[in-house]
């Protein structure tokens, strides 16, 4: 929580090395501002992000996750981002069933040059997750 009483979500952005990570870097170089709620995890490809990584983060109480990969058809490894799309769709269903809420997980496709898009998507997920409130597991993380 911030000093004001507004809930400040903690969000992880899994960023592909070939696009989103470079886009985030470019956003920094251009001195573009985006919310500090996001922590970036550098990934070789969104196809390398296993379902377990996302579920583990939610279990530990993260409020939202953004999976940011290359534009469809533009994956450095040909189809890693397409696989990531299928996996995130499946995890979203599971999160709904579990009670965490699938809307806390988003996937975005962008290129290395799309720094404004990266910033916009980050702002969107922060606003959406802020409206959703904390991960229901957050206050229960200590238990077992």
């Amino acid at each position: 929580m911030s000093q004001s009483n507004q809930f400040e979500p903690e969000i992880i952005a899994f960023c592909c090395n070939y696009c989103a990570y470079a886009a985030a870097d470019l956003a920094g170089s251009k001195r573009m501002q985006y919310p500090v709620n996001v922590r970036i995890i550098h990934s070789p490809c969104t196809g390398k992000i296993e379902m377990e990584h996302i579920l583990a983060a939610f279990e530990k109480g993260i409020d939202g996750i953004l999976v940011a990969g290359c534009l469809e058809g533009g994956c450095h490894f040909l189809e890693g981002n397409l696989r990531a799309r299928k996996r995130t769709d499946r995890i979203r269903e599971m999160l709904d069933e579990i009670g965490v809420g699938g809307e806390r997980l988003k996937m975005v496709n962008l290129s290395a040059a799309m720094a404004p898009t990266f910033v916009q998507r980050v702002e969107e997920i922060v606003a959406e997750v802020r409206a959703l409130g904390p991960n229901p597991l957050r206050e229960k993380v200590g238990a077992l």
Binding site: E50, M51, E52, L55, A56, F58, E59, M94, E97, I98, G99, V100, P136, L137, K140, V141, A143, L144
Partner: protein, 222 residues
């Protein structure tokens, strides 16, 4: 191989609702290959069930172990220690694995974590199709290696029926007519004459309808 599918998270959660410490056991053979009950799938199910229970305010202690094969006692004996510490076991093996573990540990509740489906083959990535019903009296030699008992919707031994359209089954357009496949296959291997013989009604006493089957082969007994 035996093909299975995972049970929904809610069902798994309900199955173990009365327990606080549960052992999830994966199987390293068929269900690992069909992406349903291997080490990774057990891990995913554990995350999901643990989270669901926490949200319900009833946290559960889940321990995961994956053994090479659940359908053989030789491999199950390695489970003795983790089983002794758990209130219940959820087996992510096929129905055979679940029951073999239950027999090995008669005082522990053992539940199924998967829905066992069929004996089938991997057609392409993440697509399995049923190929064998295990009828106990294989007739594939007569049908060019394509089983009408498994793959024909009517289980016809003297097909095709009048419902097939082109090479598709009338039950579903996604489903090839097994008898079309049989005809094509016999033609390719120059054995169309096999279709000249009427196949008599099958003896089903070797199949699962009769009773649980048992095989004893004295030459391999010790």
């Amino acid at each position: 191989m035996i093909v299975a599918t995972p049970k929904p998270v809610t069902e798994l959660k309900n199955i173990i609702a009365r327990h606080g410490k549960v052992l999830f056991v994966g199987c390293g053979t068929c269900v690992t290959v069909c992406l349903a009950g291997g080490e990774r799938e057990v891990g995913i199910a554990s995350y999901a069930v643990r989270m669901a229970r926490k949200i319900d305010g009833k946290p559960v202690d889940l321990v995961q172990v994956t053994i090479e094969r659940q359908c053989e006692n030789e491999f199950i004996k390695d489970l003795a220690e983790p089983v002794s510490k758990a209130e219940a076991i959820v087996s992510f093996g096929c129905g055979v694995g679940v029951q073999t573990i239950a027999e090995r540990f008669p005082n522990k509740p053992v539940y199924a974590g998967l829905n066992t489906q069929f004996m089938g083959t991997l057609e392409e990535q993440a697509l399995w199709t049923e190929k064998c019903l295990g009828c106990g009296d294989c007739m594939l030699a007569q049908f060019g290696g394509i089983c009408p008992i498994t793959r024909c919707a009517k289980r016809m031994l003297n097909g095709p029926c009048g419902g097939s359209k082109e090479d598709r089954c009338e039950v579903s357009e996604d489903r090839p007519c097994a008898w079309q496949l049989i005809y094509q296959r016999l033609k390719n291997i120059h054995q169309l004459d096999r279709l000249d013989t009427i196949v008599p009604p099958k003896d089903w006493t070797t199949s699962w309808h009769a009773s649980p089957r048992k095989i004893l082969r004295p030459e391999h007994r010790v």
